[in-house]
């Protein structure tokens, strides 16, 4: 059986020989991304050796105009083949940034220039899309992630201050867990590459409306985030406006998900925005929110429960049972035990990538993906190059929430629908690095 690692290696060799940008006349780039080793000082005199974009974690915030061509130079200054995935965008398969779709890897020491027309508007992100396997210092375990903001014609909400925050976990190791297999466990958790109290605070003023764009760039872990003394009004999920903005006490953000939320700054003080679960907050996941003219120890109010429901933000005004005559594609997810000293392997409809079935799509057709998670894990499922609409969570039907990642709980049926309107190979996978590396992927191909 060909593993994902062997498959990628074969493709990487081909790409490095071909040299993606060679032979083309280079144009002046709008942005340049250098992928290079980097020592991240996440706390005072404590460093993590990782790989990052442009010597910072997260990478630089890239701002694009929707529909306006951009050109980006990417230099791979590492000793491994790399590729940058433009997550949540409608790009061609050759630039989307997944080797499995046909985007060439950038050879060690190599360079690439890509151009694309950014769409859709909203909060997107970019990150590596390489194999890590048992090496928890590769792939999404590194600092290779950055924010993308595609300027919309109209912002989802009025705001006075805007912050982009990335949640990440570091120094992972494989440890035995309750499910009987090995899973990544982390020593350090950060917001924008810093542990609580080390980074600069978010400085705000009373009476402002603060717009937070929060990305979970963790390789494997979901995070719950609260801001002491305040509530969040969720206005967008995965960069897409929600039909029904609603106030919630905390946010749940699965790997690769984004939440945009407004915070009414009506409680002057010095507060902690951090992970709700104590052990992860203790590992550093938090950042201080400091009102002007306020000082003192940052205050934290410990929630006692975890609450989150996607459907709170759903369209309540339309008939949720209405059908678009979508073609149904059932996808059943199962784990395969390979020993108490190994990570589980994963199957979709009984097969592991790259042996999973390639599913054909017809342009213009509407499809309904029926996720049936028969494992004990929750899975953040990501469809490349498309946006889908949530249609069912458990036994509840819904409409109007557009996403590119959805967390599918164990043994809970979840249905999503999308229109096949972006021809080209399209990857579908669990966004947990350990799951996608162990076979949890398949390709859609337009026919």
């Amino acid at each position: 059986m060909v593993t994902r690692r062997e498959f990628l290696k074969t493709c990487a060799i081909g790409a490095s020989v071909g040299g993606y940008a060679r032979g083309r006349e280079a144009t002046a780039p709008d942005y340049t991304i250098d992928i290079a080793p980097y020592s991240l000082e996440f706390s005072h005199r404590r460093e993590i050796k990782t790989i990052a974009y442009n010597g910072q974690v997260p990478g630089p915030l890239l701002r694009f105009q929707e529909g306006k061509l951009v050109t980006i130079n990417i230099n791979n200054k590492t000793d491994i083949p790399e590729v940058v995935h433009w997550h949540g965008m409608f790009l061609g398969s050759s630039v989307d940034g997944a080797m499995e779709e046909g985007t060439p890897m950038i050879a060690p020491g190599g360079a690439s220039q890509i151009s694309f027309i950014p769409q859709p508007a909203g909060f997107r992100w970019y990150h590596t899309h390489t194999f890590a396997g048992h090496n928890l210092n590769r792939g999404q375990y590194t600092g290779q992630h950055g924010f993308l903001w595609i300027e919309p014609r109209e912002n989802p909400a009025r705001y006075d201050a805007e912050f982009f925050l990335a949640l990440h976990d570091w120094r992972g190791q494989l440890l035995g867990s309750g499910d009987g297999s090995m899973n990544p466990s982390y020593d350090v958790s950060t917001v924008n590459g810093r542990v609580l109290g080390f980074g600069a605070p978010l400085r705000v003023k009373a009476g402002q409306r603060m717009l937070l764009h929060i990305l979970n760039s963790s390789a494997t872990d979901c995070h719950w985030i609260a801001l002491a003394g305040h509530q969040f009004t969720v206005v967008a999920l995965d960069g897409n406006r929600v039909p029904n903005p609603a106030a919630v006490p905390m946010l749940s953000i699965a790997p690769a998900e984004r939440v945009s939320a407004i915070v009414e700054l009506n409680n002057p003080g010095v507060w902690v925005l951090g992970e709700v679960r104590k052990h992860i907050k203790q590992a550093g996941m938090g950042i201080v929110v400091e009102y002007a003219n306020k000082s003192g120890e940052p205050q934290w109010q410990q929630p006692e429960t975890l609450t989150w429901d996607y459907l709170k933000f759903a369209d309540t005004g339309t008939d949720v049972s209405g059908s678009n005559k979508a073609l149904e594609i059932p996808l059943v997810f199962k784990s395969k035990f390979t020993g108490h000293g190994d990570m589980d392997h994963w199957t979709i409809n009984g097969k592991s990538y790259p042996n999973t079935e390639i599913i054909g799509l017809k342009e213009g057709e509407r499809y309904r993906l029926q996720f049936r998670n028969e494992s004990t894990d929750h899975h953040p499922l990501h469809l490349h190059r498309h946006t889908f609409e949530l249609r069912q969570m458990g036994d509840r039907k819904t409409r109007g929430i557009m996403k590119d990642v959805v967390l599918v709980p164990s043994n809970t049926p979840v249905d999503v629908e999308f229109t096949a309107n972006h021809p080209g190979s399209t990857l579908f996978h669990c966004h947990q690095q350990d799951h996608m590396d162990m076979g949890f992927m398949l390709l859609f191909r337009y026919i």
Binding site: R277, G339, H340
Partner: protein
């Protein structure tokens, strides 16, 4: 005459010079992990000596057809330390059910955050056993524990050092009593393997093979739930000084005392 001769020969064959009694109370190769804080593991070790020492020697009851029930209670103290407490009992025709002794065993381990490639812990055990079960009534043990799980395989090694504090072996110095285990996961719930237990005698000078204790157990571990521990095995002794056939079982139940909170 022949019977007397054979009996003397048999006694000489089975009994080492220092007349060490074989423990057989807790037959277990330790893994490096410790019990989590605010939780307790209660284990019942049931060991039956099907073929063993048949004679009373120096006042020590024979092991033959002894049924040992040992209650082991282990309390997690921190995420790298636990303390175990043992109550040893024995049941045998003619002797009834008897209390044998008690041991206490603190253990510390290398914390996960050190990212060591193998699990490492070290335990020390001290305790008393009645002289009718062992002439060495007070003993102390230090047991390094190293283990590693690789895919379906599990390896553990316990190179234990023993010291008699009161009894005939008090002048022997450190004794070497290693244990080892190799396991294989046939399924998520069923593992099988081999466990090895030995007592080589004095560390400075090992006993001859004949007087060493060497046992091999074929075992199975049933991983039915994180709350339960089930280990069953059959062991054979391969030296003259070892009980020749034992059947062992461990039934353990994990108790979590702290109310689980979703935000912990």
């Amino acid at each position: 005459m022949l019977r007397i001769f054979l009996s003397i020969l048999l006694l000489g064959f089975l009994v080492p010079p220092a007349i060490r009694a074989q423990g057989n109370y807790e037959i277990q190769v330790y893994g490096a992990d410790t019990i989590a804080p605010n939780s307790t593991m209660v284990e019942l070790h049931s060991n039956y000596t099907a073929l063993g020492q048949r004679y009373v020697i120096d006042g020590i009851y024979p092991t033959y057809h002894q049924e040992h029930e040992t209650l082991e209670i282990t309390q997690g103290v921190t995420d790298w330390m636990e303390v175990g407490f043992y109550i040893f009992t024995s049941e045998q025709n003619g002797h009834g059910a008897q209390w044998v002794g008690d041991h206490i065993r603190p253990r510390v381990r290398v914390p996960d955050k050190w990212h060591w490639p193998v699990g490492v812990s070290i335990s020390t055990e001290i305790g008393y056993q009645r002289p009718v079960y062992s002439l060495d009534t007070w003993t102390w043990e230090i047991r390094p524990i190293i283990d590693k799980t690789i895919k379906r395989w599990y390896f553990a090694f316990n190179p234990a050092l023993e010291r008699t504090l009161h009894g005939p072996d008090v002048h022997q110095g450190l004794g070497f009593a290693p244990g080892a285990k190799v396991g294989y996961d046939f399924t998520k719930k069923i593992s099988g393997g081999v466990e090895y237990y030995a007592d080589y005698g004095g560390f400075a000078q090992f006993d001859s093979f004949h007087y060493q204790q060497q046992q091999f157990f074929a075992v199975t571990d049933l991983n039915v739930s994180p709350a339960w521990e089930i280990n069953i095995g059959v062991g054979v002794g391969v030296t003259g000084s070892t009980d020749h056939l034992l059947i062992k079982g461990i039934l353990g139940r994990h108790f979590d005392w702290k109310k689980k909170s979703p935000v912990d």
